[in-house]
Symmetry: C2
Subunit: 157 residues, 2 copies
């Protein structure tokens, strides 16, 4: 505690305190809950679902590893391991990248696409039930903007 003014910031207001606690809970509970729903229902963990989903939204159902990792909010090595897991299930195939032989494309197979179709409703239901339902009546667009800013260390100006 070198600098007295830095060491004694304003404490949080009770409202802020409550919000922070609630968010802490959500961040812990929500992904596990949705994941558990999907695993229980469809044997497809959230991370793998997300990878399949992002692949499916691409025109030719293929994507470079680094791009996919970014969309899945995963490190590159985490992405590699997820794709390997999916590959052993036959849901994804890997192909060397044409224009750069260092690169790989993850390619959604027909089996992968089918799997996604099959588990999509389960995911949707979980998201609604665990999350969206509780935000009915709020200004979603405004909230979205706030969330998009959060996590960044945006300057306080």
């Amino acid at each position: 505690m070198a600098n007295p003014s830095a060491a004694t910031p304003q404490p949080l207001t009770p409202d802020e305190e409550a919000l922070v606690r609630a968010l802490g809970q959500v961040m812990h509970v929500l992904p596990r809950a949705i994941d558990a729903d999907m695993v229980g229902d469809r044997q497809l963990p959230l991370t793998e679902y997300t990878a399949l989903m992002n692949l499916s939204e691409t025109p030719d159902r293929r994507m470079r590893m680094n791009e996919l990792a970014a969309l899945c909010h995963l490190s590159l090595s985490g992405m590699t391991r997820t794709i390997i897991r999916l590959e052993t299930q036959g849901l994804v195939r890997r192909e060397r990248c044409e224009e750069d032989a260092r690169g790989w494309n993850a390619v959604l197979t027909d089996a992968g696409y089918a799997r996604l179709q099959e588990s999509w409703p389960s995911h949707l239901a979980a998201v609604r039930r665990r999350f969206l339902q509780h935000f009915e009546g709020l200004d979603l667009a405004q909230l979205t903007r706030a969330f998009q800013g959060a996590g960044t260390a945006e300057p306080t100006d």
Copy 2:
């Protein structure tokens, strides 16, 4: 994704879709960002900080494992391992519970209390900068209520 038959719930509205994506990002990025801030700053990961904080808010700075685990949103075994980590750093001590010899209390040591005092401002600053700042002007109480419900599988009545 058009699956014609029974398995077609209403898809999300664009607003909902955007919110879900934004939340996905926040849930991934925010804890790591805060954790990184604190580790970089103070060598105290968020989980350990949370444990110390909850202990410090108790009248005699001690708590049963199961209660502490619930407050930290951790499984019992996860809590055990966190406390062991803290114990080896001398920040927490364990004492058998008086009124039930199966139980243990985690007790915040003076060193632990000092450590907490020391890292509190850093945590507070990270929370403000990474999170609260982006929610200025919103109805925090309303948001808090929504968050508190989220993660639970509350009946859809």
